[in-house]
Amino acid sequence: MNQLQPLVSLDGISKAFGGVQALKGVHFEIYPGEVHALLGENGAGKSTLIKIITGVHQPDQGEILLDGKPVRLADPRQARSSAIAAIYQEPNLFPDLDIAENIFVGRQPKQGKRVDWQEMYREASKLVHSLGLNLDVKTKARSLSVAQQQMVEIARALSLNARVLIMDEPTSSLTLSEVAELFTIVRHLRETGTAIVFISHRLDEIFQIADRVTTLRDGIYVDTRMVADVTREDLVQMMVGRTLSSLFPKHDVHAGDTVLEVEHLAGEGIFNDISFELKAGEILGIYGLIGAGRTEIARALFGIEPATGGRIKINGREVSIKSPQDAMDLGVGFVPEDRQMHGLILQMPIAQNITLPILQHFVSGFWLDRNKESSTAHDLVRRLRVKTAGVWQLARELSGGNQQKVVLSKWLGTNPRILILDEPTRGIDVGSKSEVHQLLSQLASEGIAIIMISSELPEILGMSDRILVIREGGLGGEFAQAEATQEKLMHAVTTIRPA
């Protein structure tokens, strides 16, 4: 294989977004007829790398070679005409068009100016059958399963004569038998000389299907190895192999009374049988891959999408949380994962964002006391050291780190006894990150019970008193801080549950 020239080769690729370095000097080669797995934690830079190969992003530095010749992939269209195609976790079809129309959308076979429907259906049939699928090409995409939709995407890629096929977590919403079907097709494509980039968090799948594996960690290229030469342990080591930085402020555990008990919590089709306890002054880390159901558990506890089963007890009393208002009345605060989407109202000033959940405190008679509101916001902004021109500056004008501090201010303003944070430091600079960590430690020492969801291992290990692992909607293990290691947690999240 190595005697051949690589189809695509990336050399010294670097890319930064704002102040965040997403990729640094990454090296990646894809040969025809190989399945090349790309491995790394959430946020390791896999998606950015894929977006560079497919022309969505342009690298700040480095070179892309196609058939040995340097190219610039300025946009996705150019990547496509260079025979690079990608399919994603969630298929991207037009639900109201049929299979054939989806395959040939934008480039239907023509006879003169008219679409040649007969030809289109004939060609589509041929493609679909060459993939070993037994589907009528006049079926609407809407009525296909996720797996079938992915097959249609593959057929579309093939009809574009794709020589490089990138599959970004294609198996995450498939059943085991669907995965097996998909792999049959992948092997078939490999035999015909297609180069396949395969991304999955399930190590077992990598051993099943991949020839080589490249690992990224924190945006840095780690190594490329033949799959036959490595063990599970090697891969885990490559993914996490860093020493914990001393960035994380240690704090003494002086756990108080149990404030929250969750028993067999379930959310329709997303998570199941989740049970845990939380004590005052404790930081409970919840670790799991993106899509494992972590966010949904948090949203259920806060009443945004109430749980469909199980019990929640606060201070020993069973409670019913049907809306965020219920949760807030019980002293629960929630810092959501996506601060721009759920955390902030970007076109409102900082002050109005902060006081939104507690606006009733500023109503005297019928009218709002805007001076009192302003001074409360001002106090919180100062306490959290938000860098701003003033509390009437618009939230959208702040940097990510400062926006996150505004979200934290907002929930601290509600005086929560239980604070749930979903990815509290995602996408913010190192300085703000450590400030957020210090704040969490301080809040815990004041007796607030904290649940911190994160996909960053160092953060989870550095901050948590106890760690809960969520895997595919279920509990994948619970670890005390002393016994948890990066390797143990990584194992816990990447093992497939027996079907």
Partner: protein, 337 residues
């Protein structure tokens, strides 16, 4: 005083204050139009003419403000014209039947009727989860149908109406005609409501980012219900004033008025996709529409041309407005670098 403090606290310079004052472009265009028409015709720039313009836009301002609040929540109320027509008809019949009735009581009756109609809209949209454009398109027909059912095709004429009721809008006990004062009072109340009440704040929050509003514990459905009730209340008021001002109530009263009530706010910088909009913008937008209508008549544009020229000027105003806004925004961006 509070306002001044807030503005200086940001201390971001004149440019960004202008950018925040979203209405600057429309103000510019209005002034330009006034200058041009003043040169073309001497009767334009007179107190009497301006009184006419204000009288003509008063009802538009009242209902435009209602429409603005609905639009801020990402909705639209197409039933405003029908609500006005129905309330005008019912109240006109009532005052004709009880000529001794206090006109203010007639106004209260109209407001109560409007509130009931608005509640139905609000319930269908907030709890029935019907998209606002479809729900109010439905009630547009239903309420207009009720006008026919209620009146059986009959109408109320000027001479049938009691003097006191006519004076409700036309009287000038405070020099300025009552109708203009009603509109001014509504504008001030809506301004205070949006700025200094919790519900007012919630309206902007829900329209800017419904998900974040939910997470912050705001009962989004309730806020949406309330804006349609307010819309009904203001339409009820407008219906009574309409009957009083035009001294009639007919089956086609305020037919098609909903389009103007959307145009006024949109010209005044209210974002049609929700989240932002100001009272001053709606007043300016309505004033511009009124001025254009007035000017076209005064400079004797042929009636055949008037509608087309009116549309052209509205488009021009919006284009000039967005061009000015863009320039200001790039100017401040460069200033920050």
């Amino acid at each position: 005083m509070v306002i001044g403090k807030e503005r200086t606290a940001t201390s971001l310079g004149l440019m960004s204050i202008l950018v925040r004052f979203r209405e600057v472009g429309i103000l510019f265009f209005t002034v330009l139009l006034i200058i041009v028409v003043s040169i073309l015709s001497p009767v334009f720039l007179t107190a009497h003419n301006f009184r006419d313009i204000l009288l003509n836009i008063s009802i538009l301002v009242i209902v435009g403000l209602a429409q603005m609040m609905v639009i801020i929540t990402r909705g639209i109320d197409l039933s405003v014209g029908s609500m006005i027509g129905l309330v005008a008809m019912m109240v006109a019949f009532t005052v004709v039947a009880f000529p001794g009735m206090n006109p203010l009581f007639a106004l209260l009756l109209g407001i109560a009727l409007g509130a009931a109609l608005g509640s139905l809209n609000g319930a269908i949209i907030a709890w029935g989860k019907v998209p606002p454009i479809i729900a109010t398109l439905g009630t547009l027909s239903i309420y207009r149908g009720l006008v026919f059912l209620y009146s059986r095709g009959d109408w109320i004429n000027s001479f049938e109406m009691p003097m006191g009721f006519r004076q409700l809008s036309k009287g000038t006990p405070l020099v300025i005609p009552n109708l203009i004062l009603f509109a001014a009072a509504v504008a001030i109340l809506v301004f205070l409501f949006l700025r200094y009440t919790q519900t007012g704040r919630d309206i902007y929050a829900v329209g800017s980012n419904p998900q974040a509003a939910t997470v912050a514990g705001i009962r989004v459905d309730q806020v949406i219900f309330i804006v349609y009730v307010i819309s009904g209340i203001l339409c009820g008021m407008a219906g009574v004033l309409w009957a009083s001002r035009f001294e009639s109530a007919q089956t086609n009263t305020a037919l098609g008025f909903e389009l103007q009530t959307v145009a006024g706010p949109v010209v005044g910088g209210v974002n049609i996709f929700g989240g932002s909009g100001t009272v001053i913008g709606v007043v300016l937008g309505s004033f511009l529409l009124g001025t254009i209508n007035n000017a076209l008549t005064i400079v004797k544009i042929s009636p055949f041309w008037q509608l087309a020229v009116q549309g052209l000027l509205i488009l021009l105003a919006v284009i000039v407005d967005s061009a000015i806004l863009r320039r200001l925004q790039t100017a401040t961006k460069q200033g920050n670098r």
